[in-house]
Amino acid sequence: MGLEWYIARRVAWAFVVTFIIISVTWGLLAASPNPQVSNAVRSAAMNGDDPAEAREIQKKRLGLDEPLTKRYVDYMVSVYTLNWGWSQTRSQPVTEAVMNGLYYTVQYSIPWTILVILISPLIGIYSAANQYSWKDHAATGFAFFGYAIPNFFFGIILLLIFGLQLGWIPITYNTDVGVFSLANARQLAIPIFVLVTGSIGGTMRVARNESAEFINADFVKTALAKGVSPFRIYARHIMRPTMVPLSTTVVGQLLALFTGASLLVEVVFSIPGLGRLLFRSILAQDTSIVLGTSLFFVFIATIGNLIQDLVYTVLDPRISFSDR
């Protein structure tokens, strides 16, 4: 018993969750009509061939003639052996497609995550320190603005202003610039800005409300009375306890945005990342990619939740992990 046991249980649970989610996703897609089969049938019908035969041939080709249980088992085995299959709509292995997409998604996700983690507690605490002053209202207004304005809408408007009217940023995304080049920073600045403003709101509010509690707490007053410098008070006595509840919101917020908003932002800014990959393959009903990509998002979500729980225990020594 102890921390290791807790982590082991937590990881095992994460594994179970992914397993269930993958199964559900697979089930959803298996239950809906396969577009490739319908297309083959349509073609055959128009050629005057026998559609039933065409359906059988196509099903056989896609392995859909096997019994459901076998397909399910095959699929689950290949998922965990990283044998994710071949994408019919991209003519490449699914793992390659996911890696390609990930390469571009990471380029804006990492700066975005770092910025949110850095900025939102700072604004929140700043806001709490100046509670009900105009500074607080301004910070709140900013947070709410970012949260309330639909990301894709904001993105399109900024793209039109800065791309088309002012010409400061390129309208199309260039993949041939270096990852750490200035050109890349320039083309990613607006997407990152949009995402950061969108995700700061929620976390900043939590930071504000939580730290407000601590600003008036006795231990802060004690520290102040002892002559501890304000900076140290904010950094040590307020920031740390604030981070505990905050860590839950940050992870949750980022994950929700990662799967929702980032997809739209990728479409708006034509970034060839994971979100667009998923969206397009849903439209094309490319089952292998849809599963592969959702799988990836699920991994991220489970790992995120895992990290969140672990961080929670580490940051807050009061939480005992043995009785969970």
């Binding site: 073609s43 128009m46 039933a52 309208i171």
Partner: protein
Amino acid sequence: MARDELQPQDGSPDRFLSRRQWLAALGVTGTAALAGCSNGNGTGNDGTETQTTERGNYGGDTPTDTPRDELPPVSGTYRPARGSEVTTLNPLYNTENTAGGIIDYTMDSTFTFAPGTEVFPLALDLQSDDNEVWVATVRDGLEFSDPYGSLTAEDYVYLISEVHQPKTFSTSDSSNFGSDVNVTQNSEMEFQIELPEVSPLYPETYDPLINPAPKDLIQPYVEDEDDEGMRQDEVLNNLEYTGNLGPYTLDTWERSNRIILTRNEDYYLKDVEGIDRIFQGAPYFEQIESKVIPEQSSRLAAFEKGEIDAVGVPPEQVQKFQNLEETKVVQQPTPYNSVCTYNFRNNGWSAGPGNLFRKQKVRQGLACAVNKADLIEGVYRGYGTPEYTWQPEWSQFYPEDDSGIPKYGSGDLYGPEPTQSRIKEGISDTDYGYDGDGRLLNPSGQQCELTIYCSANGQTNQTFAQFIAREFEENAGIVVNVEPIQTAQFDTNYLKQPETDDETEWSAGAYNRGGWEQTSDNTWDLSVNYGLNTYPLNPATAETFFIKDGSINYYGYQPDWDAAGLFSDASNAETLDELKSVTKEIFENVATAQPMGMFLFGVDTPGYAADIQGPVPNFFSGWDFSAWYRGEN
């Protein structure tokens, strides 16, 4: 498979890139449809002028050699953009127009059509004495990349007889070569295609247009009967074998982002004699960068800023890009029309007992209810030409003397009076009737109410449906509800009829399993979901829409004129004049019978950077893509 009778009207933006796609539209008998679709429609200029002055030009004039002192310099990058990604670049399996365009950059097809429907031989020269046995001569000096050697007749024969013809492989051209076609090799560079029946317009059927592949490359898959392996083959997918066969070679293919092609120094066409001198320096771009930009507004913004060179322009913005100094818009007709199909089957005409669509007079009346000029002006911004029969006016098959073709929906043949008088005549033997307010009442005394289905994704298509609905209500007194629906869903649940164990009179596949009693699962009355191909180069192919057992005849039309006989005459015609006189009769019959509401021919409006030289405003634009270059504005 794929390509062409039906065109879903759901507004995807890629319409201008490929030469192949124009060819694709020419009419592949018996292949199945659903090509890369388009925003449908748009070109013409601003309005009425189109119909008179430009009509002849859409067919184009036979190209004459342009006298020129020097060849244009090779320079720069050509940067087209499109809205969607390509599925595959494997030339044997590709069914998409956009990908076909990319493949055509790297590898010339059999031949192409120059303006004036002039056959321009590329890899093959196709000749026939009796229109039944076609002899194909492979051009000398065509080389695959190492290690595949020269392109010979053997490669073609092997590909056709071992891959396209057997059912083992699901290649896209399988349907072009039925089992009753005999392909035999005559000599190293010559083979013959023996057709089951005479076909004077065999090249125009587009059937012989195929991409070659080296025998050595595909042989292992053929021996293993490995369809999936051939589909996934990297050499095929990355077009690594194209040698000197095309003006450009594939460099990188970033799936969701861009495709880069570089200039092919060894392009064979520049050494060919007896053609326009411009080909001697071809191709003229150092590089092609074909980008994917999903958002239309971003695509157009990038075009306006000069980040890309070519893009599909929606009708509302044509004028803007025409007026800009850096851009131009070229109007090109499409063979697709915008039609409204009537459901003749037993689950059509939901407004009451019987099915009034089956009455020719009613259909003629409905044709008078919609003002074609207003439709084109209002919905398509003038980028379209009115359609009165199954052929655009620029086609050589459109009758010189079109007095036998009634012009429903314009002039005297538009309005409530012509509409209702015809419908009244049609319903004289039924209990339907008009009331004093011009409303069509069914036998139980309620106003007739129908539903029109349109594409859920195509804005223009929805507006088109709404326009028809309003005109029907105003002029025919029929209430029409507009119902947007996803194309695939409509296709499966409304058009296809379920299989039946009963003996049916005929069965032409899922879209037409027999007579009127064969109905789909859901009822429908009217549909504008598909544009249909009118086959301007080979109109005999349109048979499939009009004979009662045609495979596309999902609407269940049963002609009361001798459609089967006329179309059979057309495909057996031995001379062009004979063919023209048969098609004239067909077109007159179609115009009178009004088997569906025929409204307009779309016009595409691709935009180009002003300094791109090459695009021409006719049906054949792009046939000489390797000679396009960047010049003066």
